[in-house]
Point group: C2
Chain length 342, copies 2
């Protein structure tokens, strides 16, 4: 790739590099004639002023790195939009990297962002991330860093979260309130803290209401997919025909459950009430409409980048920044899939 | 941000930079003792081997830039996954930038990628992109470049497309084949070539079948949203009660149409048959299930990066690369929303 430099322009016009640089920056002490000659040649040679290079004085690249498990996910898409909107307002561009839930890829991406000299990093861990050495590196290098959604508790950084356990308790309590006596849970993988917390919320709520917790009623997703919801719905009814409520780790899985029930003409919510998590767009357009927990994903993005910008500002002014934990409120959304009148 | 350099390590250990560099690369002519000392200090100082820096010999950064209008979009998510999977296999990381359908942001992102010295760029234009000077810059600088989906016809680069006009003709012909006599079209914005082509496919198919084309039956989306589908469905029935078929620019809009019809108990497909475009995931889980045109989005991503890698390879070997146009096949998917027996 051919890259035009100030040096080439200077050489071609037989003037000093300083003069070329001054001309491009429109300094008063360069003649209009010279300025025009420089600008004309720069355009002709497709010279890109290095506006995004690390500014040697401020050490800023005006770019922020964002690493997320998957962009296709409704929840993450909302977060991305919140982050980009706020970054834009503050003159930063956002570089997005998708880890595909792979720890190995995630590590490479952290190394890339550190190398590309981004001014800050926002990250949600992949489901595989149990080792966090690569994340410690970010903090050790003093790069402003914010974790959201799927985080490493041990890392000292700002964090933007919802209270997954509390939200799951609201979801399961709602199932109990509409009369469910035997509730199954389709949970997420073992590692992610949010899957663990939603499971604990489920377990605690059963016990709080004097319902027996039965580990056989807990089904664990590997990929957290529509297909798993469909298969587990069949497994649940085949093995526990008296299950009358299902709490799924996320709406996509719950939609898989509803698809199976619709196919088998199992009445929802009459025979089995179903509730999901995250309030995906499709949940309000399917039949029956899915009850769920609404997560403020756009706001989560805005909070995350606001914390990052604040830390970046403190660093620039050599002020100490104390990492903060921001917890956003979730909301129970009651729709047809749990509307039973007892 | 503090960045440890080979120089620091060399100074601390009182050895030459060359020795440090050789030690890190595990050259045989450096003693084990020195190697261990270097590695230990490098780890202690959180030294990141500059594996992602532009390699001065090969001039490669092992990164590829991807600019897309919005990651939340079902279609683009599929493309992203195809691109990342293939990039991974070939040892490249993908930097994703979301233009939010904004030309201004898109221009900044192109400048950023050129500045970050990515090895190649894959891009789908934003709906606002009518001026393509920033894209000409990519080609002028000799950066391997592939356009997909929403492209600029005038730019000399490889392109991965579907035949939008032909696909739209299949969709509208299907509506006619199931007995529709008065078909409305909810189209996309004015600029994007694919919106124009799908509209032309609609118009030509009506004429081919001896049906009158009426511009009053064409409704134009600004944001291509669920809400617009809902509103236009109402407008269509309020102003043209005898419309018996609707072809929507994309499934999201068609789902908005179905939501309005479900709310008003308008029988679909009996009174109005509805077909979308792109085969979004939700289309197979809503009621009635939506007929649509399937686009091979994952394959589109794989094709795009394969062309890019080929161009990058030619550049490295100083061979001439002739840009190619790859057209992928689409498929009509017939579901409940158009299943009428005449």
């Amino acid at each position: 790739m051919k890259e035009t430099t100030l040096k080439e322009i200077a050489a071609t016009l037989g003037i000093s590099i300083t003069t070329v640089s001054k001309a491009l920056k429109n300094y008063p002490d360069v003649s209009v004639k010279t300025k025009n000659a420089v600008l004309a040649l720069a355009k002709e040679l497709h010279y890109t002023p290095n506006s995004f290079a690390v500014n040697l004085r401020t050490k800023e690249s005006k770019t922020i790195g964002l690493i997320i498990p998957e962009v296709v996910h409704h929840f993450f898409s909302g977060v991305i939009n919140g982050i980009i909107a706020e970054a834009e307002k503050n003159g930063y561009l956002v570089i997005i990297l998708q880890s595909n839930e792979s720890l190995e890829l995630e590590k490479k991406q952290v190394a890339l962002l550190l190398n590309k000299r981004v001014d800050g990093i926002i990250m949600a861990l992949s489901n595989e991330s149990n080792d966090d050495f690569h994340i410690k590196e970010i903090v050790a290098k003093g790069i402003p860093f914010v974790q959201f959604d799927k985080i490493s508790k041990l890392i000292k950084s700002s964090k933007v979260l919802i209270n997954d356990q509390k939200a799951a308790m609201n979801a399961v309590q709602h199932l109990i309130d509409v009369g469910c006596k035997k509730i199954a849970h389709i949970r997420g993988p073992e590692n992610p803290q949010n899957a663990i917390d939603r499971f604990l919320g489920y377990k605690k709520t059963l016990e709080k209401n004097g319902l027996v917790y039965d580990s056989k009623l807990v089904y664990t997703c590997k990929r957290v997919s529509f297909e798993e919801g469909f298969e587990f719905a069949k497994a649940i009814l085949d093995n526990h025909e008296d299950v009358d409520g299902i709490f799924a780790i996320t709406d996509l899985v719950a939609v898989g459950v509803l698809a199976y029930f619709n196919e088998k003409n199992i009445p929802v919510p009459k025979q089995v009430a179903v509730i999901g998590f995250s309030n995906w767009f499709m949940s309000q357009v399917i039949t029956p409409k899915l009850s769920t927990i609404d997560q403020p994903n756009y706001e989560m993005g805005v909070e995350a980048i606001s914390l990052l910008l604040e830390e970046m500002k403190c660093n620039k002014e050599n002020k100490v920044f104390i990492p903060r934990l921001v917890e956003l409120e979730t909301k129970l959304i009651v729709r047809e899939s749990t509307m039973r009148n007892n």
